[in-house]
Amino acid sequence: MNETVIPSIDPIALPAPVWLMQFLSGLTFIFHVIPMNVVLGGGAVALFLAVRGARGSQDMYVRLARRMASVLPVAIAMTITLGVPPLLFLQAMYGPLFYTSSVLMAWPWLSVIAILLVGYYGHYYFSLSKDYENPRTMIVGAVAVAAFFVIAFLYVSNMTLMVMPERFLGIQRSWTSGFLPFTGDSIFAPRFLHFITGAVSVGGLLAVFIGLLERSDAEFRAVAVRAGGFTFVGATIVQIATGIWFLLALRPRVMMLFMGQDRVATALFGVAVLLALVAVTLILVAVFGKKRPWVMIAGTACVGLTIIIMTVMRSIVREAYLGTRFVVFEQPVNPAWDVVALFLVLFVAGVVLVGWMIHAVVTRRGLAAS
């Protein structure tokens, strides 16, 4: 079934220019991706360390797992909260595609909510219980980790389907419509693997940071930095491999954009690969060298920059897949600048307020002197 059906664009014009919504969507997506990777990868690495530590009676691993697990509930809250705006702007700009792909995998998509509740409460239990000798804790932790992997799977599925409107009618006419997630394209597997190996890398970075922030126990610091560093480097190497696979699995005309046909796309791709390699090198130096914090920070900054570039590349891939069938910039716009300005003012004020409150709690405001 080759007929491409795409719902009509909403008759109500967008209240802000598409470029602004793209920018806000991309910006908030980056802020969402960081804690999300911590949850996904950090949870998996913490569980792995907890199992290894409990089985091999390696207290350091158990301690590291506990410290990592303690970060998870707050990271989940941040992931959900920071995940709202990109999804909001995505719906505003790509509604005809996003709602359709969601309906075509409706039950799995809706199940994200139930799975998220399981994962969220599971990680709370895993982080508060701390008793990794207890099989119940480990089972709950494993369920929570699995829950977030399933959510990642479903998100990749929906986001992949939404850029392939040529698949819509075939799925809608099949008996599986609404019941199965979409996996039927060669880019699905590499995209998912690329994504989750990236998360494991970030999980490794979390362990490294926990180690570097430890000042009193040199042994713990060494174990955490080493375990985290190995995880980061190993996962990043796998991620580069899955990235190559992902690139080769793209439609040839899309792949060629990154192979010289489009200068900007090619440059971004080159810089992203370079930054990933620099990040690996710097973090290897930080882990196995003199453990200088600035090297680590520089490595992490490279990872952050890579994430930003990857976000831009992701949107290039999306527009290239859609081609002329859905041109996001060709939508009616009737800007409501007063509301946009109110949002931006409140956003800045909100960030300042949150920053001040965090600062107050961290610096023990009012109690520090006593």
Binding site: P15, G95, Y99, S102, F343
Partner: protein
Amino acid sequence: MNYPFWDVPLLGGGLVIAIIAIPHVFVSHFAIGGGIFLAWTERIGIRKGKPEYIAFAKRNTLFFVLTTLVFGAVTGVGIWFSIGLVHPGATSALIHNFVFGWAIEWVLFLVEIAAALLYYYGWSRVDQKTHQFIGWAYAGAAWGSLIVINGILAFMLTPGRWVETGGFWTGFFNPSYFPSVLIRTCVCLALAGLYALLMASREPPGETHDDLVRYASTWLLPAFVGLPIFAAWFVFTLPALAQDMFMGRAAVLTIFAALSMGISATIFAFAYLIAYRNPQSVSTPVALLFLVLGLAVTGVTEFGREAARKPYIIYDYMYSNAVLKRDVARLQQEGVLRNAKWSLVSKATPQNALIAGREIFTLACAHCHTVDGYNGVRLLVKGWPEPFIEHQLTYLDQLKGFMPPFVGNPDERRALARWLASLNPSTQPARTASVATDSLSADPLARGEAAYSAHCANCHTIDGRNAIRQHVKGWTQSVAYERLGSLDSMRGYMPPYEGPETERQALAAWLASIGNDAPAAGGAR
């Protein structure tokens, strides 16, 4: 018809939304009230030198934080997921109009989440003044998110001038905005009070128990005073049809409104007579029972509020089946199938009537009806002959005010009627025959009443809604007989009477008899 339809057997999409939305509404109101409760209770503790109040606020912080962060946040996203699946067209319209309203709500939610966490972690990490500030930031941001999202929710029921002018602020500050904000604020405080009552009831018997129970019960006072006033104001802002539906036109809605008031009154009576006046008698099971009643009244009221929007999903703009009001006339001419992007057929013909009918049901009806489950159409049309179904479809919005007009062309209406009639094949022949001659009774009045039940009772009651007694008041048998012959010309939306002669005579006799009788005790039948 712009988007593919998500078919949820038995439950229907609306119920899926309700299953997620009702717990969310309860928990979110309760969490917003909780933020204010914690900050205020801590303040009272500091001002009045009551450490037990501070300890009480501290003990309950984790619960409110977990409720807000986990259940509130996740089910809130859940509503968003579910409305996107069930009503993508309406969700898209709302997002296009209010995307920055939602973005502003998100900023407030971000502050709420951060402040809630910091309030929890800050109990022993900052001085009292700073902690109070964080508490009020938590409460203010939580209430701020309510006043923003309320604009979008109220808009769906009373968009006001937005339908003509468009624009964010016109839609946001719509006619029911302010009464809704006040109602929801009262509900937030009351639900926080009910939760606090439960927690206070767990204190060991003694002065602290009684003091905290009495204090918690006072949180229901704003709702006790404000809700009747604000609810009346709210009803006053509703469209006339929604008011009628609350006042008896839709029996379920009237029952829900009565339940909402009844349960609320019970809760307030409990709060005053038991919790405030006899705090020592408040035990945990009793407090829990009233918290559950709070959930029940939230569910009932929200359900009623949603139902009052029928036949629209966005009042005066989009019908509940996602058809824009302005498109109805065009679709009635062109047909829905021609405009349906995902349909198997593009035209209804006598040859494909059943397939086309099923498709039209999906497009025009299935947003509210399932076939066999919730609001199941098979049961609703049971016993209806095909011509009667078609007639009902022709005047759908006039006969049943809470339903949208049928949007297809005449061929599609016939196809849908055929398909609906096919749902109950066994009852079709019985309905086209005479019911009066089937009746064993020799009494013409009894046969007339049987004919009434068969032909008229689908739309009329005797003394209740659309009361037949009022319509036939003072009629003689011959007048009734004559009128039965011209029903469709007398009132355009009534079907012609098509029963046999003897049945018409019996029905006329019965109508004349009730038209000259006083209403029987017991009211509507």
